[in-house]
């Protein structure tokens, strides 16, 4: 198994990073979009996160966005050309054009048990830099629930090089710690860390 190396794979990020999240209602894509924005705030970056609003139904495809920037963010349009696409549910690949508008060097991170090469062949994906992480399995084994958002954030932090893993761990302990018992918080920390370690590149 080949894991993603942060030094080699970390994206050379421009001043503005735009992330598009694809998931299904109930998988926590919106929460993940907001979590990354809030971690960015802790790293003294400018941030914005918003879902593409529609009827909110469990299981229906949903889209959310995160913007992170060194400069104040004034644009409120939807993200057209994401540098990073995070797919929380691999069953969306045949239904939603997840790479729409993403430039050829965009990072595409998919929650999947398959290694990137196999997933690429299966999904007939052209171009872009594909990464996979078994986020649902990690979530079940660490948190005890099949909500893949926290491990997806861990993998995204690794492949994007946006912030150090410790900054997200600190955030989880501080913010989740306000709302959840320690067992849940540490489960999320474990999920985040495992996904960070296990995400695979091509």
């Amino acid at each position: 198994m080949k894991t993603a190396s942060p030094s080699k794979d970390a994206t050379q990020l421009p001043a503005l990073t735009e992330i598009r999240w694809h998931g299904r209602g109930g998988q926590g894509a919106v929460t993940a979009a907001k979590m990354v924005a809030e971690v960015a705030l802790g790293q003294h970056k400018h941030f914005q996160a918003f879902p593409e609003y529609g009827p909110e139904r469990s299981g229906a495809p949903i889209v959310a966005f995160t913007r992170i920037s060194d400069d104040p963010i004034q644009i409120f349009s939807g993200v057209e050309h994401p540098q990073i696409v995070a797919v929380l549910d691999p069953t969306l690949l045949g239904i939603v054009d997840v790479t729409k508008g993403a430039p050829d060097d965009a990072v595409v991170l998919v929650n999947s048990d398959l290694p990137p090469a196999k997933l690429r062949a299966k999904a007939k994906m052209k171009g872009r830099r594909l990464y996979t992480v078994a986020a649902t399995r990690i979530a079940v084994e660490t948190i005890g629930r099949s909500i893949p958002n926290t491990p997806m954030v861990g993998a995204l932090v690794r492949v994007s090089g946006l912030f150090p893993l410790e900054s997200v761990v600190e955030f989880l302990r501080a913010e989740f710690g306000k709302k959840f018992p320690p067992k849940v918080v540490e489960g999320n920390v474990a999920a985040l860390t495992r996904a960070y370690q296990e995400v695979q590149g091509e």
Binding site: L41, F47, Y53, I73
Partner: protein
């Protein structure tokens, strides 16, 4: 002097609810409606948790919400409410009552399209539609203003020279549901800034009985009341500016009656309301880097409309484009277009003014669309004859 507050990551609705918590009004009567729901939900929680002293009146509709707000304000209470879209529409007849009684109510409106077809997304047809109900209207751009505008609105509404209800606007979902940055004042600072509420001729002062809203017919003073409302609107221009100056001393954030960007030598300019201003500024910067003398004005105060300031800033332009996120069916353009063009009528030479419609029912607008609008302005600047019919931005051409 301004202190540096920590930056919070909040939704636009949370920013509004925070302002309401710090204002701590005597009475809030509100009914939840998408996309304003979060404001009412959070504020009701503050009431339940004892974080505010507010009497929260649950009501069965927005018509009742506005009725209860009018009753409590007339009774002598500092009063607020919040709504959107159909909710604002259901309040309609009572909006005139609130302004006609000169009640200093503050209402947060989270902009959303009016049905039909059914749509929950952002446009300005709700608040633009009630521009003639006698309320002061302030439009915000993003999260910080969703907070700041409410603190200033309390002072404006209650100012003895104004005594007129104020409606504050935040773009539905685009800002209300997005996470963005907010810097808050300390609650004590807010309380000091807004000051204690002074009721004028309150109904509950039984030692000095008054009647509010009796019949005022053919031989009465109805007409004079309406003239007085207009005089208050005229005075409001100065009051809004004074309050903003004082708020700037407190917060470090200065809000003018309108928000110009690179207008000093602009030959073409766009006038826009709300969250689209940011993308417009980016396009202005791009055009400037190409040597195009482009500028922008973002609307803050729409009622009263500071027409003299618009004439002063836009009068030197060759062509002005007005971006309306609302329709005025059968008119020559949207509500903002009609206002801007009227403001420029007395300019000599008079700029050409073009109407654009965009973003109805939440249709997204991208920098490319705004560039398209600027391209139309550039073309009009050199054309002998200009087509001044509506131009639509990001309208699906294959299906209309």
């Amino acid at each position: 002097m301004a202190t540096v507050a920590p930056i919070l990551a909040v939704t636009g609705n949370e920013a509004v609810a925070e302002a309401m918590r710090q204002i701590n009004p005597d009475v809030v009567a509100a009914y939840p409606i998408t996309p304003q729901t979060e404001i009412v939900q959070i504020f009701a929680q503050y009431v339940a948790d004892g974080k505010v002293d507010t009497e929260f009146i649950t009501v069965e509709s927005e018509h009742s919400a506005m009725s209860a707000v009018i009753g409590s304000a007339a009774g002598g209470a500092r009063t607020m409410t919040a709504t959107s879209s159909q909710g604002l529409a259901l309040m309609w007849e009572l909006l005139h009552v609130a302004s006609g009684y000169r009640l200093p109510i503050v209402m947060a409106n989270v902009n959303r399209a009016l049905s039909g077809p059914i749509n929950i997304h952002c446009d300005h047809s709700d608040s633009m539609g009630c521009r003639d109900t006698g309320w002061i209207q302030i439009y915000g751009e993003a999260h910080q203003e969703a907070y700041d505008n409410h603190l200033m609105a309390v002072r404006i509404a209650e100012h003895p020279e104004v005594r007129t209800p104020v409606m504050t606007m935040t773009d539905g979902f685009i800002v209300s549901g997005a996470i963005g940055p907010l810097q808050e004042l300390e609650t004590e600072q807010v309380q000091e800034f807004i000051g204690p509420f002074t009721a004028i001729n309150p109904l509950l002062d039984s030692a000095h009985p008054v009647t509010v809203g009796p019949f005022d017919g053919l031989h009465g003073w109805f007409f004079e009341h309406k003239a007085a409302q207009q005089q208050a609107m005229d005075r409001a221009l100065e009051v809004v500016d004074d309050v903003a100056r004082e708020y700037a001393e407190l917060s470090g954030r200065r809000y003018d009656l309108l928000d110009p960007y690179r207008m000093d030598d602009a030959e073409i300019a766009i006038v826009v309301v709300g969250s689209t201003a940011g993308a417009t500024r980016m396009v202005v910067d791009k055009l400037r880097s190409q040597g195009v003398k482009a500028g922008m004005i973002r609307v803050r105060l729409f009622r009263p409309f500071p027409h003299a300031e618009y004439a002063k800033l836009l009068g030197r332009c060759r062509v002005v484009g007005v971006l309306d996120r609302a329709e005025s069916f059968g008119a020559q353009g949207g509500p903002l277009f009609l206002e801007v063009r009227t403001a420029l009528y007395d300019c000599d030479p008079r700029p050409k003014v073009l109407p654009f419609i965009y973003g109805l029912g939440g249709r997204d607008i991208f920098p490319d669309n705004i560039e398209e609008a600027f391209a139309a302005l550039r073309k009009a600047a050199s054309a002998k004859k200009v087509d001044t019919r509506r131009r639509y931005l990001n309208l699906r051409k294959d299906e209309v």
